[in-house]
Amino acid sequence: MKLVEIRFNNFRQFLGDQSFSFSLSEERPGNILYGANGSGKTTFLNGFTWALYGSFSDDVEEKTRLINNNAWKDVAIGDDGFAEVSLRFLHGGKSYKISRRVEATKVADSNAQNLRASEVSLTVVDQTQVPRVSDFPQREINTILPKNLAQFFFFNGERMENLVKNASYADVKKEVKGLLDLNQVERAVKGSLPKVQQMLKQDFRREDKGLAAQIEDDIEAVQTKLASLHDKQDELLKNIASNDNEISIIKNEQQKIEQIKPLLDEQKRLETEIEERKDFIKKMQERLDSAIQDHGYLAFMGRLLEVNAEKINELKLSGELPAPMSKEFLARLLSEETCVCGTPLTEGTMQRTRVSQASEAPLTTDSNKFFQRLEVNISSLEDSRASFQNNIQFTRQQLHDAEQKLLTAEAKRADIVTKLLNMNGEELSADPAKLQARIINLETEKRMSQRDRESLKANIQEAESELSTLKNKRNAAQTSGEIAERILSRIKLVEEITEALKEIYANRVERLLLFLNKKIRENYHKISHQNHDPYLNEEFEIGLKTGELGNIEVGKSTGENQVLTISFLAAVSEAAQERIKVGSNIEGLDPGEKEFPIVMDAAFGALDETYQTKVAELLASISGQLVILVSKSQGQGRVDKALKDYVSDRGVIVTFTSADNAANEEILIDGENHPYIVQGDVDCSKIMTVEAGRSDG
């Protein structure tokens, strides 16, 4: 999808007909629109999703007031007012124009806009150049860019930050599912197929009066139990995320109290030390377990090795080992004239001569070699045993030392917590004792939820195993007749495809997580100078870790959250582009075309200038076409510089204001001043395109 032009007509802030054409250049596909606060940058962004799907992002206020206020003022009572957004774009070698229009009739002298349902039209022009008006515009748009995917291409940087900051991981997970191209799989696995099974099971119960039908009842009961366990698990995950979020907010509050900063710094240092020690202990424990598993048998050999060596030596000295046995054995073969393998050993044969020579030859050379090897082996085993014992002793000592140091660090941290709890907060900006007490409560709640989650996991595993056993029993049970048998075959068929789809779904989630993790890390390190490592876990929780082993959780500051958000969004956008390239051999899972633009409002938030430059470079590197909406303070300077060779089209959303205290303001673009805020008679916004060296309004 390549954006060609967006056109607003009396839509919210935009009075009259306002449009902006986007760069289609392969080399310079970047576009920047500057606008003051309240100028309509968010409206511009939402213009895309409203035209395409008739929807707005959550941060848009007064969603039912779409007709520009000035235009509405001019509508006579009894007449209709309207607002319209048209979007032209190219996709798959075709040219599209979608227009959405909403109307309202003005009743009496009211400001209220009783909007009627919006009307949408889609015109498509292909190679034949004959325009075709789509009969199903919404369906056609959804096949080009499904609505739930659109949020990863048209987004508000500030709003999306909440995905990382707040306890909305379950929502992130849901939204990212759109990337898996698996909405239809999810509908089937969680919606239609279970319903089909229910219907088939009702048929089965009607037809079958035997054991299989009884087992089917048990299966249904276990399935209900499993569904409830999964719901509880989701609930616990939300609680844990919410606790984490609140703890992080309170810790930020604590940092604002200057008087307790030294204590908090020491607490943070101790927490890092505790995590490192815990990790070391875990590693030592694993090393110990592995050594015992691989060489533990040596510990039981003790005297056994020495006793055996002595015994063998005794037998050797007394001549009982090894010659008598061999000689007797060979003599017997010669007297029986047959080898153990069946070869005849009759007089005159070559085979008999060989056995005969072997029985007469002195065995000392071979047996001596054997005993030498045995002695070396026994001695080597004794060395291994000694080394194993030393190794175990050393590791145990290290473990003991680390455990002592861990106890000391935990005791010191407990002292700090006690100090914080006993602090008098009357003279401070906030009460440290209350904050600390709240953290303790939240951490306790979190631990309880984590414990419950672990036990739920075990219950789920148990129920799944029970379900599998019951299904096997049912499949083996006798049914009441041919009809029941047929219905059972259908039930098994639906179960077969349900399991296959579940597997496809799980695999895709796993592959997506691997991809996202790799990309988030790459993107994060392109922006941040911090020695942290971002991660996205299987619950789609995003976090930062640090430390030599990358195992220490880092509290996220506002700046870190923004960098993390951008890294995440860029990774998600890349994944959305990428998934299109990953085909499937299953009809219904085949992806379509794949390049989409990125339109981003508030891309830079409150990032400092160095970060702004790097974010700008990152965005430019990942998208086929980029539209950035920024304020003058955010966009100019380093961002402009970073995108200099990438951006070809610029625009200004000029704010017209009737406020008395407003001053005219200009914006300098490519060495020329252009209007930014203009004092006038009406309150509205107008889009001005800035072309190299000139501008037109």
Partner: protein
């Protein structure tokens, strides 16, 4: 190593292969049209009843 979509699909019985394709196609259309799950379930049920006659 998880199985690929193709490996999973190839491991299915011939009836299951056909039904899976039909279900996915139907759900893709119904998801786009935002049709209720019941519509899909009724259609799949009717189709499944045609199997093993």
């Amino acid at each position: 190593m998880p199985r690929s979509d193709k490996e999973i699909f190839d491991g299915l019985s011939s009836e299951a292969k056909k039904l899976l394709k039909d279900v996915l196609e139907l759900e893709k259309k119904n998801a786009q049209l935002d049709l209720p799950i019941k519509d899909s379930a009724d259609r799949i049920y009717k189709q499944v009843k045609g199997y093993f006659q």
